[in-house]
């Protein structure tokens, strides 16, 4: 491109000759001020008349492209905040908690209950917050890792004496295969304590899909009856709201948020100003004040979830 030595500028505009040689001639056009040198290809000479207007037009064009580009990438990244679907989901949930639908499930004892039903003896106790994960018992890769994480969580819960505030729930999405017997076997293998960690399978595919959608878990078939799915720690408040999605490496964070969203009444001062971001409850058990308490408690901790790499 350095080869064709620059001709005096301005001449080019008058001559009809400089057809689209190749990039070399119009490289001159990238110099500022020579707005009419840009017509490498077109024979039209009428733009020569108003150079000032032409410059403004050119500048407008570039600005519009720049703005459009920034807007496009802002749209794709949720305002330059996230790069992945998981991160976007975690961010949305942190901002606006989601009501967990009362899907019917079967637990490891074969009993049919709503998914968030707390299966402990003492019915009078305050409801507990739940850390939820999604598994299938035939899984040998990610779910085993998740199992390890949950064993660690269980140890922490017992060690910190949080059994009355936080419990663990593993939901299987393998509706066809994960019978109560399979779940019970899984519980035994994992050394799950019945009062801390329970296992359930939705009774229908539709129920399973509804839960997966609510929690933002996408299951991709891998072949050989195996699946890949995104793993995270989903914190559900005692009121049945999905309040936070935490990375599986952040056990302490998940536990802290769960413990805080367990006892909405711990902050005694009821301000009465409901946030209103959650307007309606599926079960009808969520009072506005409780909701706002939960939200306030949760927002005490840091605002944004850890971003996926």
């Amino acid at each position: 491109m350095f080869a064709p030595s620059p001709e005096p500028r301005g001449v080019e505009g008058q001559r009809p000759e400089p057809r689209n040689v190749d990039g070399s001639t119009s490289a001159l056009g990238s110099d500022e001020g020579s707005a009419f040198a840009t017509d490498g290809a077109a024979p039209a000479p009428q733009r020569v008349e108003r150079p000032a207007g032409a410059v403004a037009q050119a500048a407008t064009g570039v600005m519009v492209a720049l703005l459009a580009g920034v807007a496009l990438i802002a749209w794709a990244t949720d305002g330059f905040a996230v790069l992945t679907t998981d991160a976007a989901r975690a961010r949305n949930v942190a901002q606006t908690p989601v009501i967990v639908p009362p899907v019917t499930v079967r637990n490891e004892h074969g009993a049919e209950t709503p998914v968030l039903h707390d299966d402990r003896k003492d019915d009078t106790a305050a409801p507990r917050a739940i850390i939820v994960d999604f598994i299938y018992t035939r899984c040998i890769t990610l779910c085993s890792a998740l199992g390890g994480v949950y064993q660690q969580l269980q140890r922490e819960i017992v060690a910190q004496g949080l059994e009355s505030q936080v419990r663990l729930l593993s939901i299987s999405f393998d509706v066809a295969h994960d019978s109560p017997e399979r779940l019970a076997r899984q519980a035994r293998l994992m050394g799950a304590r019945p009062n801390v960690w329970s296992f359930v399978t939705p009774t229908s595919e539709a129920g399973s899909d509804s839960l997966l959608k609510t929690f933002g878990v996408q299951v991709v078939p891998e072949g050989n009856g195996e699946w890949q799915h995104n793993a995270a720690l989903h914190v559900v408040s005692a009121d049945g709201l999905l309040v936070r999605i935490v990375d599986i490496s952040d056990l302490a964070g998940a536990l802290a948020i769960a413990a805080r969203s367990a006892t909405g009444s711990a902050t005694g001062s009821a301000t009465g100003s409901a946030t209103g971001s959650v307007s309606r409850s599926a079960t009808g058990s969520v009072s506005r004040r409780a909701t706002s308490d939960v939200l306030r408690n949760v927002s005490d901790s840091e605002h944004l979830p850890t971003r996926a790499p």
């Binding site: 491109m1 720049l66 790069l83 992945t84 679907t85």
Partner: protein, 249 residues
């Protein structure tokens, strides 16, 4: 005409869901084909075709005229091709963002938007390419290939799935593919930039001692080699992905 056929094929046949079932096919086949279709739509009428214009239907002639007028109209807004290249860079970058890719798989409107935006990118790329000149082109190619290479590296090394719609293995193939395409495009462009006819001549005569000629011939050889590897690897990745999908059922 070929371009329209290509778009119709990509958009309205089972080809669409098949290409979108694998990350590798999605990123390395569907997206480039859409861009190419756009480029063809924006392409100037060739001289060879002009001689045959008698035989062409009126619709095609009208389309050509429309395209020509559009090019004319847009040119004042496109100094040195800057507007068009910026837009193209932004659009191609957007569809390398995992979340955007996921959305296009799960949401029909987003997929339609993906098709439209990439076609537009192809058209304006053709409108802008000659205007840009060597510096503009170098900037654009450098930008795009750099972006692709970085995304490719990230995809290869990511410990988790970045796209919730795709498998880990598929993600690694896509990463490798992106890296290879970036290298191939970069090297190829560089070879062309070095001065097309001279380079080709020098490449043909082995044992040329001129320094520039040597660089050029290596570049061309490398580009050919990369292109070959790329085709091979894309093919294997695609077949493996298909095999995986089939095994599922």
């Amino acid at each position: 005409m070929i371009a329209l056929l290509l778009v119709a094929l990509l958009a309205f046949t089972p080809l669409r869901s098949w290409l979108e079932s694998s990350m590798t096919l999605h990123m390395l086949v569907q997206l480039p084909l859409l861009l190419a279709a756009g480029w063809l739509l924006g392409a100037r009428t060739q001289r060879r075709q002009q001689t045959r214009q008698m035989q062409q239907t009126r619709q095609i002639q009208q389309m050509r005229q429309l395209q020509h007028r559009l090019r004319e109209r847009l040119q004042p807004w496109n100094p040195g091709g800057a507007t068009g290249l910026l837009l193209t860079a932004a659009i191609t970058t957007t569809w390398m963002i995992p979340r955007a890719l996921d959305l296009s798989v799960t949401s029909m409107p987003v997929d339609a938007f993906k098709f439209a935006s990439l076609l537009v990118a192809g058209v304006v790329l053709h409108f802008s390419w000659a205007l840009a000149g060597a510096i503009g082109q170098a900037f654009f190619v450098g930008n795009i290939t750099w972006m692709m290479a970085v995304v490719g590296l990230l995809l290869r090394d990511a410990p988790v799935r970045v796209c919730t719609s795709y498998l880990t293995q598929d993600q690694q193939y896509a990463g490798t593919g992106l890296l290879l395409v970036a290298t191939a495009v970069g090297v190829r462009w560089f070879a062309v930039w070095l001065g097309t006819p001279a380079v080709l001549a020098a490449g043909a005569t082995t044992g040329s001692s001129a320094a520039s000629a040597k660089t050029a011939s290596t570049a061309t050889a490398a580009s050919t080699a990369t292109a070959a590897t790329l085709t091979a690897s894309t093919a294997t990745a695609a077949s493996r992905a298909t095999a995986a999908t089939r095994a599922t059922h």
